[in-house]
Symmetry: D2
Subunit: 366 residues, 4 copies
């Protein structure tokens, strides 16, 4: 990855801050002939949009995506068909309230990138976090909506599996419930909704915050994607997920738990299935062996740290080198991890789409 | 990352299989004027070399590195000075016992990349795992030995913090002990040696295996390296570590544990120190905020799965689509994670060296 | 270069077709702290804008650039200061007359990319040439306006040196005249204006077209930029210039003429100047030796083929595999090469800016 | 291109100087299943090897290539089959006469990269030109030998079309003659041999040198390779050719001459052939329209400057900032361009192979 671009053949470049005129992405290398609608892209954006429950910030942006290039319109006047040239998408920033950033402009908020920005660049756009704003992730989600269509038959879904110290019960996993309108958390465990809501209400009232763990599962990924060494599929998935704001850990399949089991337990045994095709009897590997997809579901998890903006004052310093106590006012999320679910899906979809094209390029196989 | 190259300005390309004539790396983009000796490179290689205790495989390779290009010799006839052109390093494969691979050549070993190689490439070099051989990591270690010298004052060290279900006691952490000749495990906790040895003896006798967790700490990393979005320092560290064989998870700073604490706990507070410079009062972030280094130690951990080669037969299939039971004969490591310590150090050093040059390129600052 | 991005540290991605909503570029990797105004960018765009004389097409686009991200406004409310994050610039397409493309949509125009697009992508946007439209070059010019500011003291200028079979007289070279309002051709030779005008009037009335040769000179380029082998400064300049539509040849310094002189003539001799600094006594090399800049002016030339859209019918085929005669109606340029001058400047500026940052990254020198 | 690597999917990294232990290349991204022999690689190396006539330097290196990785041996014990992993090739430097470089080590030879190296890196390996040595091109030729096999049916050939002021007569073009043992110049015009020999004998005796122009023709290139904007096939060919030492100009098809003809003349008309397939009636475009291959032969030419090492003293300076007169002693080529023919072929083959894989990756078509 380099700068603000990721991917090798399916390449995504994002740009924009939360307080400029707009933000967007350029998706380059998309195969020609892929059919999509603006509504499909918008649907993914709406899934990550803040302001949908009391547990996510109240900034109400329509986040309306415009598709500016890279397609021809089909005769229905609605379906776009990619031409193989760059697809540029743009989202205008509507909610640019000119609030008073006076203090924050000169203070380094703990847990934020304020101090590191200043050290790196010698200046920073303090309004809304600059490039580190969560709004940047809208561009990724838009790109991911296209990536989902690159690999025929692939379905990428995500779910929240932990909020702070509360975990779901995996025995109740129900993918259908994840997108249920009653579900405020992208959780796959219906009974966890009340538990999470109760827990987060307490966190929210205390002006505090907690982190979360999200699991992404990609089904329908052909076997053979990736490479043995530095273009491992899991490596690019890890890099893509780690590039999301506030992510501090990534794991594939059993992940860290794999280190605690034996080789016998960890071996995903195989047999020839009734249809004569190979079947795996387990999936500790998370669908990737030696950096290459096995054909099983690809499973990745990532940990999001607690929101850094909290009401309790924290010790810090300002740009003049003075000690200050920093307290974040205004809207904040008790758990930014909730909204990370569609973002994680998008990043995994992009990584797999890229490897699908790379594999086809090198080997001539789909 | 692409194919067999990683890094953007400090670029490493590795090549070679365990059963060919040799393996090696090309380090491209190294700054001119860096002084090093062959002995320094060799020292790092010797640290990862197998055959040093009963807990690592008995393949006895001298792993003697040759430096073929990219330097001029200083007057002492020993010190090499980089010229800024590619440094090519080569390690010959001595131990190429032509053992009988008959069965293994046609069977897919569970947990190995055998099946995925065949699906991807349509053929594979079954001898010793091809590119997935642990020997490939020697090339990374050689490259890392140069990377260590790119960032003035940087020290990168690693330690084993868990073996299977056994963890070290962090209160006894002693960096000096890690390189102690009595220390068979790169553990920083002297009392853990007996515990690990006893535990692994049992694993080894059972023909079984376990995984491990390794922690890498880079000190002396200047603040300002990295970028806010897709060239995050933590992201490239994660990608580099995930590219090591058998790694299934990576975390930075508190990592997955960060998701379970509150924003108050997670905030690394700051104060102006006695010398007038900023100091952090904690390092939950692992030295990286918003993708950019803070100047604190950079801390990363990675999980290695249990060795896939075990004595207990596992169900699998062969290339002809028949069910078989696979049992690995011959030498094997009860815990491949032990040797991963110098490899992890090398990969972290390479990531930071690359970002040091990229930061200097974009901003003109060191 | 890859897809629609060029550059390594100073990276430019362009997107958009002439008949979509807009086109634009994302400039990534720009150093922080560079001061520029929208008017400066606009000035460069106005220089390449068609519709300024009878020798360039009459499409009258305002080509008004919007800068969407990557800057903070200085207190004057006008000066933008780069933050080091991506600078996204957008130009709306105003003149999208829905003319009848019926015939052209199904015919392959000789000399155009129609046939190759269809073979490559299986479909194409026939309106205005898709990505191959000359309008795409506006995005490059905008990016180049920023690139010019990256290297302190660098001045990049271009001039038309041939139109069809007519050449300038180099003894009359006058840089000041190039931007003279009376100068319709970016020619440095005042007396050539009447000659070119007369010649092109004939070409235009015949519905014909001719090509041109453009020379770009970059002064103030520090010695030391580039690399000896595959990151040669001249190589990246050549690639950048060859990426401009209709360019069929590129040369550096004496170029093809160098092949016809002797080693004695070609050697740029050196002496120590009065100020104790090295001076070159000639510049056959065009400011680049062994891929690395010498500190002399960097000189590149490129040849633009005649406009493919002409009034005389040409034999071709259509998408149904039938023979047809194609004749281009409507507006066309008798010599597209005229407008290529600011585009060539932009591409050379981008190549040098990129190498300036790369050199600084690897060596720590400016 | 970056550093010492070129190509995007078919990637070549070269390393090594003329006076180190060895030089070589790593070819990464080669499709699996390609069959080749060491003898085939060696054959290409032998074609560029110096010391074959009185017109090329007398350094007699066997240039014996070793293939170290990336293949399995077929049952014949000779045929190598690529596995899809990096193919590392190495050529030892045998002729490292420790001659006295005393003077040259401190003088900047005009036309050479001596001065620019020192400015860039602050030090240089003065023995034999370091990376700028013509020996580096052996690595490219070895890589090109593999590239030739990536595109089924492709044939890449080159020929010398000018030496100094002497041009071939194109009406006598005979590809078979190019490889004739009597042909000292890779010329396609049998009658030019005597002319070139006579001319170069004079140049050689005068201790002087001249340049040359080489033409490369690739037949059997499928239509559709390349891209409309920054991944143009001609652009990557130009970059690859410009990366060869001493090359000062590159052109595609009619090249610079295209600028002097009319649109009518330049249009490559098309018709449907007897077999119902499109045929072009001319090839002014050199097989590439809008950056994408047409299916016609791809034609590129490049100009090589006169050898910089000549016997006549030239004015220069030394590292201490003193005026000196430099005269090159010892072996030298009167025309380095002769040997550039197989090198040019290799670079064109690599560019096309890369685009073949990229096209297949993006579009799924061959």
């Amino acid at each position: 990855m380099s700068h603000n671009t990721f991917g090798h053949l399916f390449r995504v470049t994002t740009w924009g801050e939360s307080h400029g005129a707009a933000l967007g992405c350029v998706v380059d290398g998309c195969p020609p002939g892929i059919r999509f609608t603006r509504a499909e892209i918008q649907h993914e954006l709406d899934r990550r949009r803040p302001g949908q429950s009391r547990f996510v910030t109240q900034r109400r942006e329509p986040d309306e995506v415009k598709v500016l290039s890279g397609f021809v319109l089909d005769d229905d006047g609605e379906t776009m068909i990619t031409t193989g040239t760059p697809v540029s998408m743009l989202i205008e920033n509507v909610d640019q309230r000119s609030k008073d950033y006076g203090e924050i402009a000169r203070q380094y908020r703990p847990g934020h990138a304020d101090y590191t920005y200043d050290v790196k660049y010698g200046l920073r756009d303090h309004r809304g976090g600059g490039r580190s704003s969560a709004r940047e992730t809208a561009a990724r989600v838009a790109a991911g909506a296209l990536a989902r269509k690159v690999v025929p038959g692939m379905v990428v879904r995500g779910a929240l599996v932990s909020v702070g110290v509360k975990d779901i019960d995996r025995s109740r996993w129900n993918w259908n419930f994840v997108e249920d309108p009653e579900n405020l958390f992208f959780t796959p465990d219906p009974e966890s909704v009340a538990i999470f809501a109760d827990y987060l209400d307490g966190i929210r009232k205390a002006g505090s915050s907690v982190g979360a763990v999200i699991e992404i599962v990609a089904e329908g990924v052909p076997a053979g994607l990736g490479a043995p060494v530095y273009a491992k599929l899991d490596q690019d998935i890890a890099a893509n997920l780690m590039s999301i704001n506030a992510v501090k850990g990534v794991e594939i399949g059993d992940g860290f738990a794999a280190a605690r089991i034996t080789g016998e337990e960890n071996a995903d045994e195989m047999r020839i299935g009734n249809d004569g095709k190979p079947v795996f009897l387990a999936n500790h590997a998370g669908g990737i062996l030696g950096g290459i997809s096995t054909g099983q579901p690809v499973v990745a998890r990532f940990a999001v740290k607690p929101t850094s903006s909290i009401l309790t004052p924290r010790k810090s310093i300002d740009v003049d080198g003075k000690d200050v106590d920093v307290r974040t006012k205004g809207r904040h999320d008790p758990c930014v991890g909730i909204r990370a679910v569609p973002i994680g899906e998008a990043m995994v979809a992009c990584a797999i789409a890229d490897h699908y094209l790379r594999h086809r390029g090198q080997t001539g196989r789909d």
